[in-house]
Amino acid sequence: MSLVFFGYFGGMVAITSMLVVALRNPVYSALSLLVMLFHVAGLFVILHAEFLAAVQVIVYAGAILVLYLFVVMLLNVKEDDRYHSQWRIAAVVCVPLVIESIVLLSGGAGSTGHDSRSLESGPHGGIAADNTLAIGKTLFTTYLFPFEVASLVLLVAMIGAIVLAKRDFSESREL
């Protein structure tokens, strides 16, 4: 059953991610990404990470992607009719990379022995509330420090964005 779900979500994720890259219009790209994010959230659900699935949808799809679209609209970006001039070389480079990655990733999973403990709906795979509670607890106990750091990251991002994007600027302010 989960294989079917995985097949669907996984397949969609793969396809939409390729579309993100392949579609020339950034708006379409962004929309593809949106679709992809939803399907990733679906994968998260399969993997018993309900909280993250929610966050994925809310933060990523809701906030980040909207920001993207907003900027795309703001800048009135026209259709991106060409790929970068290096795309052929890039393709050539990526072929071995793809092959190697597949070799390493599949081989790796095989040799680590994690395979044997294939995912089952174990004791952990309960309701979303459990998962959220667990994550919340860890976040504010074990991961308190990173949490605070993350807040700083956001602070920097916020102020940075303001400083950079502000229209009227220093020259006038000081003189």
């Binding site: 950034p26 800048l75 890039a90 990733l105 395979d115 991961y143 956001l154 991002a157 950079l164 229209r167």
Partner: protein, 100 residues
């Protein structure tokens, strides 16, 4: 039921797609979108491993990765706006004042 390698392969595909996107798109926004693909590939990995290992650490990591991604997007878009304001383009190919 689903072997972990499936997730790995999937994330690998997404990751490489994102990587290729960074390499071949000219539009800086599209490049950022590709970077998002890469981050999502990471997230898939983390969550898959988290479930596989029965360890919450991976999920927490994804949480933070999302946060950072958001922050990055904010800064990135601000830079793009500023850049667009001064250069009237967001075509990365044209940003080559600095070279050699």
């Amino acid at each position: 039921m689903i072997p972990i390698s499936y997730y790995l392969i999937l994330s690998g595909i997404v990751f490489l797609t994102g990587l290729v996107g960074v390499l071949i798109r000219r539009n800086i926004i599209a490049i950022l979108l590709s970077v998002e693909l890469m981050l999502n590939a990471t997230n898939i990995n983390f969550v898959a491993f988290s479930d596989h290992l029965q360890d919450l650490g991976g999920q927490v990591f994804v949480f933070f990765a999302l946060t950072v991604a958001a922050a990055e997007v904010a800064v990135g878009l601000a830079i793009i706006i500023a850049l667009h304001r001064s250069r009237s383009t967001i075509n990365v190919e044209e940003f080559n004042l600095l070279k050699w």
